[in-house]
Symmetry: C2
Subunit: 286 residues, 2 copies
């Protein structure tokens, strides 16, 4: 088969849970094969024999339609369900079970899996603290209040459209971190100074910045051909703001070409927010 | 070694990116070993030889302190960095590379990985559509506006504290779905009827509900000992609301004992929101 041909295959992401791990890992793996186009399909909550058989049927039908067997990225846990899906006409990549054997040997211990016990009950305390973090972040978006700011784990600042809101939402949803955010306005930049209400919280501040060209693109999508979205304005704001952060010694993160996950994970590292108290996100799930 | 002893080991989640995949998969794997307590540490953005050597040092020091070698869950991609970390005194579980070989054989194709080419440039179109979804969700939280509701991919309804806001945020952040949410108020329940502004969008509605006892717990944390948080009130609202959804044929999802990820993934399945257009979340990252 010539490597130049663009061939079509199908990738299934299969799980007894949300399939988020299978999707993330599977997508990064198939991205390594540039010359092959992949149709992608998630099969979530495959938690009964009936649903496993249905998955098997779907995979087999796809093999017939494609003329090539699909690739299945699976985090299925229960052996009896895995056995059903593994009979499909597919390359079955067993993301979960592959690592249970070496772990059992290393830990000189049998897993709940091989003992036939399963977990999944939600940890309500961790769930509550995560919801509380989301509540906090929602009520402290875009400088909407300075109340209870002392309870913030981190306060993200930045000029308009540097990614403050999605970053804070991700920090609270994924990591249970109470993340507030505050806009740096033109008024702040003229003087230049920090918003007065942030003065007591200098050690909680972290600034997001971005490339002026990229900022212009993003602002164009919001208010095309406005002064706000002009290159001159973007360039002015970026330069003034960065000078302010440097002068005050506020740690700064460039968000250009970074995904929200990367920005959030970088902040967790930079601000050492990675404590066990904040970590758990409720139920363990794959 | 007696299985009854509670032993302490350390798990490292190691990645050249955010480590989110290593964390999620690693945590679900170690949760299968109930009799062993794991200290957990993430080593993110290990993308240079220097940082790989630093990771190696940390792992080796931990092995000395613990008196047992750590377990390393790794999604490192580059062979030269993996080679450095694999020399640590640890059980190295190679989440990424384990699956590249069988994929190359199956696809009769060499991966960019083995060809020495790497990806990582952000897909700016996918990034923009995801940010747009977050913007949409933020401006359509808790019924704050009915403007542009026709652009919603889904409209989540429910009585207070059934998880509407975090669910919508997760749908937009993880899946790029434009998710609006609307509260069902006591006034709506008395008549009972839908908020009038939702009438044109009946086919986009999905209701969240929960167990009255669980709802009481959650509301207690917010307004302890209020009428709002009383069991009678919670029970009344849940029963009235569910009767309303049933009468109108609105699909309903019980959120009791479900994590935000599970609720969101279930909604994606229920409402068939899993289209390629909405899928990509920008850069591929592990």
């Amino acid at each position: 088969m010539a490597e130049e041909d663009e061939r079509q295959r199908t990738a299934f992401f299969l799980s007894d849970g949300t399939a988020i791990t299978a999707e993330t890992l599977g997508r990064s793996l198939i991205a390594q094969f540039e010359n092959i186009r992949f149709a992608q399909q998630s099969l979530r909550f495959i938690n009964t024999a009936e649903r496993a058989l249905e998955a098997q049927r779907k995979i087999n039908e796809t093999a017939v339609v494609d003329g090539e067997r699909p690739v299945v990225f699976s985090t299925l846990v229960k052996p009896e369900l895995r056995a059903i899906v593994m009979q499909s006409n597919a390359l079955y990549l067993d993301i979960f079970a592959t690592f249970i054997d070496p772990l059992e040997q290393e830990l000189v211990s049998r897993s709940s899996l091989s003992l036939g016990r399963f977990h999944g009950l939600i940890d309500t305390a961790a769930y509550s603290s995560r919801i509380e973090a989301v509540d906090f972040t929602m009520s402290h978006d875009d400088g909407s209040t300075t109340k209870h700011l002392e309870q913030a784990d981190i306060i993200i600042i930045g000029i308009s459209r540097t990614g403050k809101t999605p970053t804070c939402l991700y920090l609270s949803l994924q990591y249970g971190i109470r993340a507030a955010n505050f806009p740096i306005t033109e008024d702040d930049l003229e003087h230049p100074r920090l918003p007065r209400s942030l003065a007591p919280y200098r050690d909680k501040l972290l600034a997001l910045s971005t490339d002026a060209r990229r900022l212009q693109q993003i602002r164009q999508e919001r208010y095309a051909n406005s002064r706000y979205a002009s290159f001159e304005q973007c360039d002015y704001e970026v330069r003034q703001a960065e000078a302010l952060y440097r002068r005050l010694g506020i740690p700064m993160l460039h968000t250009t070409l970074k995904s929200i996950e990367e920005i959030a994970a970088t902040i967790v590292d930079m601000a050492s927010l990675d404590t066990p108290r904040r970590r758990g996100g409720g139920k363990v799930h794959v």
